[in-house]
Symmetry: C2
Subunit: 467 residues, 2 copies
């Protein structure tokens, strides 16, 4: 019997709400399986978010390439006694044969924009709904949270300390990757480091100090075992006394030609403790030994500490990153926008969708800053759309790209380092007002005239679908 | 190459923060691997929580029974160039040989209590820290959220609609199980239903209605395919018009000897719409057709709707359940409490731990209500402790049980139905003031005199560990 914690191919094939299967069965019976386009978008910006960082798209592409509902999964579906044999046989042979258009992994976006579009036979596009919402939704929330920490940290090192507080076994892998993509320097997560080739960082546990009779002996033992990786955790008992003990080890290591890796503060008043620790270390001639802080940190707290001038060189961010604690879920939705070449629209109160296959046109001014987006239809050209910006742009880019065609990746699979570099290169183009941690400015996003006309005509058409 | 979404045995073996491996390596070098006891507890109650429902313990037991660090994992650790060959060899042969004492899965607990204790050779107990915090932490937050929805719903059906908004691929499995344990009737999650044998529920997607030219035709098609499972989603365009269309199908099904499964409202003013829908259905003679509501629901909203008398028969709870949105992470910690038979204590500012291996003694009055807990040491007896309750108890139970010994389960593996029944049977013993959704009462938890004396003496001893 497999370990309960493992998530296998059968789980992947059944990673769907039951209705994905029941409506697919009804489509199958009605022979409704023509080409459909579904669009993933964010209905509204989460609290205090001025921009979003798209993430999870690469994982979706990888999963779609291998998508299948294996025999065990089919046997389970059969056991539900809901589905006819012909439909189950059809599901067993199903592969993803469609196309995916999407933002670049790490790309910036805003509410109301098409961030990923699946265009495929209706049933294929339907069955992957839960998967896409789950994976892109969470990864994007974490990448966005990480980007906020990155701007608050002003170049200080950031390490993902989240695995212990994350929601389940998969979330830490996503967090390790998404936070690295958005500027973190590495992760404490060994499994995540392995899977994505991310640098791993670790310091020391309280238990290590507690299992020893004396703190100084614990520090000495640890420095002996890891002369190049000895960041000593000083807050198990009294933090200031702990820094003095760490300084003794630092001096000893230096005399032996080595170097103390750092000290870590994990509780108490971090500003006061970091200030005292810096003095203690400097007086011992250890002015090159960095101070690492952790313990309930987030972008707000990091900004506050650095704003006050706390001499902290690196931050471990755990809970707040791992669960995106002030916005644990985004209002993402995946809606049918076209079927058989005809636009489709949902009118639900407060949750209306916009019809048609779309493109995002992003305007940049002469100084290189993004300042406005138009959302248009897929067949609109950059040239035509350029005229619609209120302030004439220096450049306009269509940023939704075809990433998969016929179920295969169209573009070479980018490496994480490359994606990270592109993501970090994009941040400076964002207006500082969008990056404000609280009450950021709202980025202007409007529909093009063509899309607007379609919204109006489709609204009328949709209202008549209930007659 | 395996699908990125899968979580395999190597991931399980490396599911740890780097420091778990580095401190273990240092312990190994110092030959410090005597018996240690680590305790999992919740430092403080999350906002608005008057009680917690323990969950994730069964999964930990299952994972510990199979715990190993496989060859691929060892090869990866070797590649980090941090560890000596002898240590890696030791890790490759490591199995979990210790004992686990814990609350029953689904048991009620409060802040400051030992909910799970691992007693094992130091390195084994250390290496499973991240795993235990991650798994029990999240499952407990979700089970607790689900229990709150259960009490708000006053017997109405509750279905987990969370997979699309959950944090990664593992969280939905945990949510399906944890919410069922705490009173939900089932889940939309097909993979979760399969793994844990939980009833699955599904209605209909907006895309199903949108892909049709007419809503009525969509309803008719769906009812044709699923005459026994036809809960029709009425809010794609106008909800009231949608209910009228659903009623037409209901009448048609009845004439054919069938029955409409229900209607689902997913947006708009749910109270008004449910009231109108009830009238429309009743006028059509469909008074036995239930109304299902969904869309940003949580325990607060459910209580409000039912308090106002909304005629809603079932609720789909998604985001708020899946991420426990008002408390996405709990302040759980896993601390060394004893090494080589000697108590250990951490003094960190605001994060002190309590020393010693412990037991929870729960007092119940003659009416059968739980009213106070004492946390004592493992060797204290129920008889001795009984005298310490301020109000004499009718019964006192020691609720932390030995669940695993020598790395094997000691008790037979309980079925989920059995655990669910026990959990639901426990709710009535909780004071209504603890179940208040906002500002609940605080349940009295105190240390026994013996534990208190140990805390005082260990504090002094710990303060001297920095001399």
């Amino acid at each position: 019997m497999p370990l309960d914690l493992r998530f296998d191919a059968t789980d992947v094939g059944l990673f769907a709400d039951l209705y994905e299967f029941t409506v697919s069965a009804a489509f199958f019976e009605q022979r409704m399986n023509d080409t459909a386009a579904f669009e993933l978008s964010l209905r509204r910006m989460p609290p205090n978010r001025g921009y979003m960082v798209a993430c999870g798209i690469e994982r979706i592409l990888e999963t779609l390439e291998e998508f299948r509902i294996d025999e065990t999964a089919i046997a389970h579906l059969e056991s539900l006694k809901l589905f006819k044999p012909e439909f189950l046989e059809f599901l067993g042979g199903l592969r993803f044969t469609g196309s995916v258009r999407a933002l670049r992994e790490g790309g910036i976006f805003f509410a109301g924009q098409p961030i990923l579009e699946v265009c495929a036979p209706l049933i294929e596009a339907q069955l992957v709904e839960t998967l896409i919402l789950n994976q892109v939704g969470f990864a994007t929330m974490v990448a966005t949270k990480a980007a906020r920490c990155f701007s608050a940290a002003q170049g200080r090192r950031l390490v993902d300390f989240g695995p212990r507080r994350a929601q389940g076994a998969d979330a830490p892998l996503i967090t390790a990757r998404a936070s690295y993509l958005a500027g973190f320097h590495g992760t404490a997560n060994v499994a995540g480091g392995r899977r994505y080739g991310i640098p791993v960082y670790g310091t020391m546990s309280h238990s290590f100090v507690m299992a020893h009779e004396r703190e100084l002996k614990a520090f000495d033992d640890f420095a002996g075992s890891f002369p190049r990786l000895s960041t000593l955790l000083v807050d198990t008992y009294d933090s200031v006394a702990g820094v003095h003990n760490a300084a003794k080890i630092g001096v000893k290591l230096r005399e032996m030609g080595g170097k103390l890796g750092g000290i870590r503060l994990d509780s108490g008043r971090l500003f006061d403790l970091a200030t005292q620790a810096r003095k203690i270390l400097d007086l011992a001639g250890l002015d090159d030994v960095p101070i690492f802080a952790s313990g309930n940190l987030d972008e707000y707290r990091i900004a506050e500490l650095l704003g006050d001038g706390a001499p902290i060189d690196a931050f471990g961010v755990g809970t707040s990153l791992a669960v995106s604690d002030d916005a644990p879920a985004g209002d993402f939705n995946y809606k049918l926008v076209e079927y058989r070449g005809e636009p489709r629209m949902k009118l639900s109160a407060g949750k209306a969708s916009t019809p048609g296959r779309k493109q995002i046109f992003r305007a940049r001014n002469a100084a290189g800053s993004d300042y406005s987006d138009l959302v248009g239809l897929i067949d609109e050209s950059t040239a035509t759309v350029t005229r619609e910006f209120r302030q004439p742009p220096a450049t306009v880019a269509a940023i939704v790209e075809t990433q998969m065609e016929g179920g295969r990746r169209k573009l070479p699979r980018p490496g994480l380092e490359e994606l990270r570099a592109q993501t970090l290169a994009e941040f400076p183009h964002l207006d500082a007002r969008l990056k404000a941690l609280r009450k950021p400015a709202e980025y202007p996003v409007r529909p093009t005239a063509t899309l607007n006309a379609m919204i109006i005509s489709e609204r009328l058409k949709s209202e008549r679908r209930q007659d």
